[in-house]
Symmetry: C2
């Protein structure tokens, strides 16, 4: 089925070009015509065949980013459990290297539009809930394996960690010189150390 | 100077109308012409006199929101210090009531554009650094007053709290049914309790 493969390849290549445009000039500054040109299409018609609107393209871009993040999480957590798995998950989500920085930029653009587009918001919420479920599972393993004391409020531990990671998408963009990759990893390690210590000084 | 007062009033009124438009339909869906119409101006020329571009209007909107947040922080922390002041600050920043929810929507729109506009990014960073300095000051007071144990890493405590608050801007928008105002306040209280306990179970 060479045609089908072609289509999937083309779709993926359009999305990857879109990521670079979003990261470089912002989604609101890129028209569908600009994106088509950047993809090497003389007319925007080919692009419209795959993605009828900018929202559709942004949604597909965000979905592919979530898929890839989740593939990396699956690879990074394979054979691991508890706090080691939790660490691997966090390191794939925080924007601490060039790849995840581009992903974070797409996410911030996506969030802006998700504010007023229910369909986008739902996809964003699903990604968040999937990560939350993974965090809760790894926390339960850490408790079971005695890596941390019994957690009085595991839901709050998970929410705090998720909100720190979403916050880092924003603060690392506003202040990249201070909120570096190593600073972000330090904050993650600190949260994990607090868990593994069971009790700890803040 | 009635003319000057008029100008300031008009500017403020345009910004407040813009907030509602951003919260309701998204900045990218509102043209300058739409905003002018919503403000009651027949032609967009009057609007352009005050704000030459959408970025200028969004910047002014974000700045006014920061000013108002900071005024509320000043009022809420007056006569307070340490953890009580820190609590008051957090409660003005997290989007846990209808007013701060509108403010958070403007902030998310602003962040999206700040990704590619250095001037906007700088204003966002300044707001963040101002809040960070306040947090650091209140933490130092809490230590001094014996409200918490000596902090091994106060910078990380401040950064964690700020990132949670920025993250709540995102998660409360994606999942408002779960990330309610009371849920957000619970997370803030938990972070403060961890401080005041000195040592605590996570």
């Amino acid at each position: 089925m060479p045609r089908l493969v072609d289509h999937q390849e083309r779709r993926r290549s359009i999305i990857e070009t879109t990521w670079q445009l979003i990261a470089g000039q912002g989604i609101e500054n890129a028209s569908m015509r600009d994106i088509a040109r950047e993809c090497g299409y003389a007319a925007p018609g080919v692009l419209a065949y795959y993605f009828p609107s900018k929202d559709a393209l942004l949604l597909a871009s965000y979905q592919l980013i979530c898929e890839r993040t989740n593939e990396r999480i699956a690879a990074g957590t394979r054979g691991r459990r508890g706090l080691a798995a939790l660490r691997a998950l966090c390191l794939e989500i925080i924007p601490a290297d060039p790849l995840t920085v581009v992903e974070a930029r797409v996410a911030v653009s996506f969030w802006q539009r998700a504010q007023t587009e229910e369909a986008l918001r739902e996809v964003g919420r699903d990604a968040l809930l999937y990560w939350r479920a993974l965090v809760m599972g790894f926390l339960a393993e850490a408790e079971h394996d005695g890596e941390c004391a019994t957690l009085a409020d595991p839901d709050a531990v998970a929410d705090e960690l998720l909100n720190v990671m979403m916050g880092l998408h924003v603060t690392s963009m506003l202040d990249p010189d201070a909120v570096t990759g190593s600073r972000q990893r330090h904050l993650v390690e600190r949260a994990l150390a607090r868990l593994s210590a069971g009790v700890t000084a803040p």
